[in-house]
Symmetry: C2
Subunit: 331 residues, 2 copies
Amino acid sequence: MANIKDIAKLCGVNPATVSRALNGQKGVSENVRESIVKTARKLGYKKNPLAASLITRRSGLIGLVVPDITNPYYARVAKGVSSVLEKRGYAIFLCDCDRDRNLENRYFEMLSNYRVEGVILISVTAQESDLEIFARNDIKVVCVDNPISKEYSTVFNDNYQGACDITEHLVCNVGVKRLVAMMGTSEATTTQQRLRGCMDTLERLGRSDILVSTMNVIANYKGGYENTEKLLSFKPDCVFTINDSVALGVFNYCQHHGINVPRELKIAGYDDIDDASLLSVPLTTVHQCKYVLGQKAATQLLSELENPHTMPIKIELLPKLVVRESCGEKL
Amino acid sequence: MANIKDIAKLCGVNPATVSRALNGQKGVSENVRESIVKTARKLGYKKNPLAASLITRRSGLIGLVVPDITNPYYARVAKGVSSVLEKRGYAIFLCDCDRDRNLENRYFEMLSNYRVEGVILISVTAQESDLEIFARNDIKVVCVDNPISKEYSTVFNDNYQGACDITEHLVCNVGVKRLVAMMGTSEATTTQQRLRGCMDTLERLGRSDILVSTMNVIANYKGGYENTEKLLSFKPDCVFTINDSVALGVFNYCQHHGINVPRELKIAGYDDIDDASLLSVPLTTVHQCKYVLGQKAATQLLSELENPHTMPIKIELLPKLVVRESCGEKL
DNA sequence: AATTAATACTAAAACGTTTGCCAAAAATAA
DNA sequence: TTATTTTTGGCAAACGTTTTAGTATTAATT
C-alpha cells in the first residue's frame, strides 16, 4: 500500500509537503498540489488514520456502549448514532456489555487503550466512579437516557411529559375510571418519572373520582404476562404499563384468557417499539424518538470534540403520544 | 499517560527491554522483568495498540458489517461475534449499512483505511467485486449466510435441511393436505434453498397427494399481511412462510379477519425470532442459531488471522425444528 | 534600492511502539 | 585455563504520519 513517502519521492518533494497538500493546508503551490493529488490518486493512496492519530491525538474512533444490542430500543439508538458518525468519517467501536458491569468496565478500559476520542454511553449498570477512566484520559462522554455523571452531557426523552400526555389522553379522550399503573422497580428513574407524570396529571385535571392503583413488575414481557391475573383483581378498565414489552405480555394474557382488548381492558404502553404497531390490536403508546436520540447524542459528542471548551448540557427530547386501538377507537 | 519510555527511564533500562518484558518475550532476566512489570503497574501503563499496530501490522480491529443492526436476526448474530472477539481482546468496528450498497462500499473503504485485520461480513447487497478492496489490502473476510466469494470462508445455517425438517413435520405429524409456500423473491438463495428442501421432502415422502403451491412476496411483515387474501384463495390448510416476520403478517391478518389459527389455517415460519414465541398463538418455526452463527464466524476469522495459511472453509450449522401451537397442538 | 513580508518548501523531530543486530557478560565445554 | 555457547540487554531503525523551525525564493512595501 502506497504511503506518503512514495508520493513524495515520485513528485520530487518532501513528505511534509505531501501531507499539507493532501490535508488541504496552505503553503503549497497549486501546481505542486495538483501533481501530488494526481499521483496520490494514481497510487490509490489512503492515509493511515492510526499513524496520523499518534501525532494528532485524534484516532477518529468513537466508543458506543450499549447494555444489549439485541434490544430493539438500543439497536435503534445505535443506528441513530451510527448515521451521524458515518457521515463525519468517524469509526464506531461497539461495546455490547450484556448488562454486565464487569464486562462494561473491561470495555471502558479497552476504549481508553484504543484512544477513542469520545464515548456514547447507554448504560443501566455504570456508576459514576466507573467513568473516572474517561476523565483521566480526557475522553469525552455523552450519556444517553441515564445521567450517570454531572460531568457529561446527557441526552434523554422527557419521561415525565410522555406520561402526562398519555394519562391526559386516557382520562379526557378514553374516559377511563379505574386505572392501574403497572410500573418497573421503584428505583428505576424511568418508573419514577413516568409514574409521577401520571399522578400529577390526574391531580392537575382534578379527577379525584378516578381510582388509580400501582404495581411493580419486572419490566419485560414475562413480567407483564405473569402479573396480569393480579392486575385483573383490581378490576381496572385500563392499564398503563412501564413499557411496550410489558404491555405485550398483558395483551397476550388477555388473548389467552378470552379478555377482549380494548372492550374489557384497555392497554396503554410506552416506547413504541416496532411490535406495538404490529399487534393484532395495535398498541396505543408513547413514541420515544430512539433514532433521533442517538443522532443528538452523536452530534453533541462531535461538537464537544471540535470545541473542547463547550460545557456539558442536557438535551431533552419530547415524546409523542400515538393513539392506536388498544384503548378504543381512534378519535 | 505513561509510556514505555517513562518506564524505561525509571527502571534504568532501554525501551526495547521494557517492550520485551511486557510482551512476555525472552531475553530479559527475571529480576529486571519484575521491576519493569511493577513500575508499569505503578504508573498505570497501558500499551497503545495503535502505535504498536504501525509496526506489528496488527491493529486488533475487526470490522463487523451488517445490513441493519435493528433487525433482531443481525443483532443476535452481532452479539455472538462480539462475545468471542471481546474475550480475545479485539475491538469491533461496527458498520450498519442500512441495506445500502453505496454506504456499504464507503464502509469497506473506511475499514481498509483503518487497517482492520479482518471483517465479518453479513450482507445482502455486496457483490463479489466489492470485496476486492479487502483482497488488495489482504484483509481476511468471513461471510455470514451469504457466500459472496469463494475466496473467503462462509458460515451459514443449512436452509435446505431446516425446510426438510419442518416440511416433514407438517406432512407426517400435522397431516397437511393443501400447502402454500409463501417465499421471498426467487433470486434469494434462502428462498431457493428452503423451497427446494420443502419440495424434495414431499417427493421423498412420496406424497403426491399433497397439493402444494408457491407464491413470492416481499419477505417482511407487510408482505405477509398484504398477501394473505391471495393466499387464502388457494384454500390451503397450511402456509409455510420464508420467515417469521412474514408469518406474523399472515397471523395478524387472520386475527383481524376472524380466521382461527391453527384450526382454519396452520402457519409455519422460519428463523425463530423472539416474537415467534410471544405470539398469542406461538409460532411453529425453524430455529436458526444466530448467536452461535456469529460465534463461529468470529472464531473462524480469528483462526485464519492466527494461522495465515488456513484455507477458507464452509461452516454449516444445523437448524432445529421448534414445534409450538400455530400448526396444532404439540405432539 | 533596501527593507520587510509573504510564500513555498525542506529538514528533522515527534508520536509510542517493535525488532534486527550487536556487544558484553555469564555460563558451559573442552 | 581457554574456547565456545548462551543469555541479557542496549542501540538504532522502522512503522506512517504531522508539525515545528528554518531556509530560500519571491513579492510587497517603503
